[in-house]
Amino acid sequence: MNKSMETAEVAKQNRAYAEALAELLYQFADDDFIISFRGSEWLGLAPFIEEDVAFSSITQNTMGHATMFFQLLEELGEGDADALAHARKVDERRSSVYLEKMNGDGHYIEEPDYDWALAVVRNFLYETMKRVKLQAAMKSTYQPLANMATKIIMEQTYHLAHWKLWMEQLLGATDEAKEKLLSRLDEAWEEFGDALSLGPKASDIAKFGILIEEETFKQYWLEEVKKTLPAKYATIPKKSLGNGREGMHGEDLQQAINIFTEVYQIDEQAVW
C-alpha cells in the first residue's frame, strides 16, 4: 500500500515520486491546454449556434482544467503556471500529437476549412480517455491531484456526454455522415496511441500509486469506447504521428505555439 502524499511539500521530499508526478501532471495540463486551443479556433464555425454555445463552453471549462493542472505543477516548484503554459519549447511539451493536429486546412481567421467529423472523433476519444484517467486520479496517492480530479470530473461528465451523443447520432444517421466518421476513426486508430501512453515514467507513476498501470489504463479506455463504436475498433490505436509524451511533436504544435504566444512573447515579463 502506497503512502498518501498530502501536500506538494511532502511529495517533493521523494525525488522519484515528484518527478513521476510532474510527468503525469504535464500530460494532463498539456492535453487540456492544446485541445482547448484547437477548440477555441472553432468558435463561430460550428454546425449551428447551439453547438457553438455548447462547444465553446466545453472549451472554456477545459482551459480551466488545464489552468488547475498548471497550478499543481507550480506548487511542485516547476515554475510559474503562465510560463509553463506559454514559454516551454516544443520538445518540452507532453501533449498527445493527435490532439495537436490542426482542425483542417486554412487558418482560423482566413478560410478555415475545418472538419466536424475530426472534431467529433477527436473530442469523443479524448474525453473518454480523460474520464478514465480522472477516475484513476481520484484514487491517486497524491492528495491534491485526487481532490482536483474529483472536482473536474463533475464538469467533465457533461463534456463526454456531449461528444458521445454526437458520435452516436452521426454514426446512426446518413451514409454520408457515417462514412466521414469512419474515415476519421480509421485515421485515429493510426494516430491516437500516444494519448494512451503514460510516458517515460509510466512504471514509477504506477509503482507510487499516482495513477494505475499503463496497460490497465489502455484497456479501461478501450472497454469504454467499444460501447459506442463499431466492433472493428477493438484494438489499441497506433502512434504513427510520434509520441508526444516523450516530447516528439510535429509541425502542428509549433503552428499552435506561434499563435498562442504571439502576444505573450511581446514582453514575457509584462503584466497583461
Binding site: V53, S56, M63, A173
Partner: protein
C-alpha cells in the same frame, strides 16, 4: 403605419381590428408587456423581427473580432475570461434568434432564413463589427468600450414593450456588465504596463474612436435615408434617440478615458456647460453607409467565415435532419 388586413370584407372586421389596435396601444402606454401570442400590429411585428434578428446576428458576428484574439490571449486568466465572453456572445445570439423565431411564425419563416439573409446581406449586422482588429489592445478596447456602448443602447430598451425581448435583454445586459469589467481590467493592465503596452492601447483607442461614434448610428435619418427610431419610440421599444445615447456614452466614458491618460483623437471634442452637451467632429457618414452595406474593412472576410461554416457543415445538418429539424 398600421395595415388593415387585405380583403377584410366587413365593417365589423375593420372596426374590430381598430379596436384591437386601440387596445394594444393602451396596453403598451400603460406599461404592459406584449407576449408572443398576443395580437399585435404588423408593423410592430415587422420592426421587432428586424431589430431582434439584427441584434441576434450582431451578437454572433460580434464574437468574431474577439475570437481573432481568443487563441492568442497572453495568460491563463485572460484566456478564461475572453473564452467566457465569446461564449456569452454566442449564447446571446442564440437567445435572441429564438425570440425572433416566435415572432416570425405567422410569416412562415424561421432562423434558416435569418442566417441565409445574413449571408446575402439582406439582414445587416452591427456596423462596429465590420472593423479590423490589429493587436491585443483592440480586444481590450472592444470589451471595454464597444460593450460599454452596447450596455447604453440596450439599457435604453430594458423596458421594451415586447416582453420576451425585454426579458432577454435583462439577462444580456447583466452579462455585458461583466464583459465591460473584463475589458476595463484589460485596459488597466495595458495603461499601467510597459511603454509598448501603453502605445498599443493608445493606437487601438485612436483606431476605434470613429467606430465608437458611429456605433450609435447617425444623428438624423437623413444620413442613411431611413431610420426606424420613430416607430421604435412610438411603440415603446426604445426610449432615447441615437444622439441622446451617444451623449450618454460621452458622459460616462470621456472622464474615464482622460483619467487613464489616453489622448482623444478628436481635438474639437468639448463639453458645453450651458446645453450640457458634447460637441464632436462628425465621422464620415458616407463611410458609415458603405460599412452597413457590408463594404467595411472586414465585412466580407467575417461573412466568409459564416459562409464556410454553413457550407462545411451542410452534411451535419442533413444527418441530423433525419432525426430532428435543425437548421
Amino acid at each position: 403605419m398600421y395595415h388593415y388586413i387585405e380583403g377584410a370584407d366587413s365593417i365589423q372586421n375593420v372596426s374590430t381590428d381598430e379596436e384591437k389596435y386601440e387596445h394594444f396601444m393602451q396596453r403598451i402606454n400603460n406599461g404592459e408587456k406584449v407576449e408572443a401570442n398576443d395580437w399585435m400590429p404588423d408593423d410592430y411585428r415587422t420592426a421587432l423581427i428586424r431589430l431582434i434578428s439584427m441584434h441576434g446576428v450582431s451578437e454572433i458576428m460580434g464574437a468574431l473580432p474577439e475570437k481573432e484574439w481568443t487563441p492568442k490571449a497572453p495568460s491563463l486568466k485572460r484566456k478564461l475570461a475572453i473564452m467566457a465572453k465569446v461564449q456569452d456572445e454566442m449564447g446571446h445570439g442564440q437567445l435572441l434568434l429564438r425570440v425572433a423565431e416566435d415572432l416570425q411564425k405567422p410569416f412562415g419563416t424561421t432562423r434558416k432564413e435569418v442566417m441565409e439573409d445574413l449571408l446575402t446581406g439582406k439582414i445587416k449586422f452591427h456596423n462596429v463589427f465590420h472593423m479590423k482588429t490589429k493587436s491585443w489592445a483592440d480586444a481590450a478596447i472592444i470589451a471595454w468600450l464597444v460593450d460599454g456602448a452596447a450596455i447604453i443602447t440596450q439599457t435604453n430598451m430594458l423596458n421594451a414593450s415586447y416582453g420576451p425581448y425585454q426579458r432577454a435583454l435583462q439577462r444580456i445586459c447583466a452579462e455585458e456588465v461583466f464583459h465591460a469589467q473584463h475589458g476595463e481590467a484589460l485596459v488597466m493592465a495595458l495603461a499601467n504596463g510597459t511603454k509598448k503596452q501603453r502605445e498599443m492601447l493608445q493606437e487601438a483607442f485612436s483606431r476605434w474612436w470613429d467606430s465608437l461614434i458611429m456605433f450609435f448610428g447617425p444623428p438624423s435619418p437623413k444620413v442613411t435615408g431611413s431610420s426606424r427610431q420613430d416607430i421604435m419610440i412610438k411603440y415603446k421599444i426604445r426610449i432615447n434617440t441615437n444622439e441622446e445615447l451617444r451623449q450618454a456614452f460621452f458622459d460616462k466614458y470621456i472622464p474615464r478615458v482622460k483619467a487613464l491618460g489616453l489622448e482623444i483623437p478628436d481635438k474639437t471634442l468639448t463639453f458645453n456647460e450651458d446645453t450640457k452637451e458634447w460637441t464632436y467632429a462628425q465621422p464620415n457618414w458616407d463611410d458609415f453607409k458603405q460599412i452597413i452595406n457590408n463594404h467595411g474593412p472586414r465585412s466580407k472576410a467575417r461573412l466568409r467565415l459564416r459562409e464556410i461554416a454553413h457550407e462545411n457543415s451542410r452534411w451535419v445538418r442533413r444527418a441530423l435532419a433525419e432525426e430532428e429539424a435543425v437548421v
